[in-house]
Assembly symmetry: C2
Homo-oligomer: 335 residues x 2
Amino acid sequence: MNTETSQKPATTGFPFDHIRPHLDQVESLILEQAREFDPGVENYIAYLCGSSGKRIRPSLTVLTAGALGEVSADQVKLGCVLELIHIASLVHDDLMDGANTRRGLATASAKWGDTLSVLLGDSLFSHSLMLATELNDVHLSREVAKASREVCEGEILQTQRRFDLTLSIPEYFHIIELKTAALFGASAELSAYLAKAPESTQAAMRSYGRKLGTVYQLYDDCLDLVGDPDEAGKTLRTDLEKGKLTLPILHLIRSASPAQRDKLGRILLEREPLDLGILAGIADYEGALEAAVKQGHELLKESRSDLICLPENSSTEALHDIVSYLGGLLDGCLR
Amino acid sequence: MNTETSQKPATTGFPFDHIRPHLDQVESLILEQAREFDPGVENYIAYLCGSSGKRIRPSLTVLTAGALGEVSADQVKLGCVLELIHIASLVHDDLMDGANTRRGLATASAKWGDTLSVLLGDSLFSHSLMLATELNDVHLSREVAKASREVCEGEILQTQRRFDLTLSIPEYFHIIELKTAALFGASAELSAYLAKAPESTQAAMRSYGRKLGTVYQLYDDCLDLVGDPDEAGKTLRTDLEKGKLTLPILHLIRSASPAQRDKLGRILLEREPLDLGILAGIADYEGALEAAVKQGHELLKESRSDLICLPENSSTEALHDIVSYLGGLLDGCLR
């Protein structure tokens, strides 16, 4: 696909502009963290924290804060903590995936090798959890550490089930709930906790965040199959090569006849040089991509009902806008 | 060296027997942790936690507790937390070193590969810091996370300075203070904090723990050069192959003539097949090993004075015994 004529929404550009000042505070805080490390380590951390991502997790934290009142310094710090955990997990992801670039920049493993990447990720994980203690609330420290552990557990389960064609769709959702939804859920829930919102509101925001995270991962999985690498700003078509079975492929396996399932098995397991464009075409033709996108839309619809507990204001509106935006991204996966 | 006729002290067997019941509690708690993970992850964690190490860090925690009063459940938990951080760091160490066995068992990376080892270490780090929050004290959570970060920072600095013959002896000590002494220091200091000991006592126990950790690493470094692999229960002679410059080697470099320094450079940098037995012999002959051991003894002497603040009892005595024991281990490195 030619990027210039593409009608697909870009993968960046979540509708966060009206909270830009608070996101800038998060960004400054993220950039300041490098100075907390030993001078011999500082520059590595500055590089890792400086490669600006989409900052989705802090955006959820700040928008939840804004929806429930004024955005506090603690909520800004929470956003920073959760983004650092995300960055740490990306350092290790890139190492394990053998990825050379992310967001157009060389990955830690490409730049400094595997050993330093392991250790830099570890340092960032530990530092995030240390920074979380500055919120002076044991409950927050615990929930942040728990979300961090869940991210790793999700990755472990995903690794275990590589090339496993018996992976069920509920198992797929369990994995991405740990891997991605946990941190999204914590971003919204713990911000509501800091706003001293009622427990029911905290639970609703957790549910909203988790659904959003699930759909975001589901979208990312679809994008890997059908997206344009130039547009996405990263290497695509890697999930299947690494044996990660994504939702459209799981739907395709489920709807396949025995003969088709054999063919899929040969393609996916025997690691024949894959023409993923063809596989994507089949997934589209058989309605498997559509089934995956439909599940995403169902989750998004549910996530809107989680927002009912919030007062009407521009931040609440933006939380709804994220839902619409993700819906648009999902639709963009259908050719 | 024939292990049967060896006169060297064994590397296990620290003098902890009188606190065995509390160490058993730590051990049970460590083994219980696997059940806190996702069922798909539990068995890996059980394997990693089950391969009984020397449990030195929890021993320091429990002995400090015993020296200052009754050993509490929180102090037992603290010991478990710090040991889990140690185990997490070993999982990543073994991965980075390409080590196949530890304590006679296959390492995680040998058993399950690099990807799972990265993730299992990450999960254990996060879990340790989550468990720390059960102590319901933000100060403790922060100090534990900080010690965890310092371990990683020390490893990063060590990795950076591999094969760097300009590494100074103070820089060597800075690295091992982060890599090993931080966690030893936290084990004793935070136990004193939990015992509500005066701040001066907490500081003294931190100093004691850090010195002990420094000497323990220094001993481990000497052992790598002169030890017997069968006796040590792990692969030795790996530090120099990996470019880690240990204290005896740094003393040897410092005392070498320009011509000798060239020879050492060729041996250490050009990675000629090393006869480390010969290098160890030279280090011994030139007094470099003795100089390293002497620095260890000086630190041990200082560490005894940190214990003056403690009441006289069997645990305080055991803390002194550890000092003597480490002294014996150091002397065992001199042939």
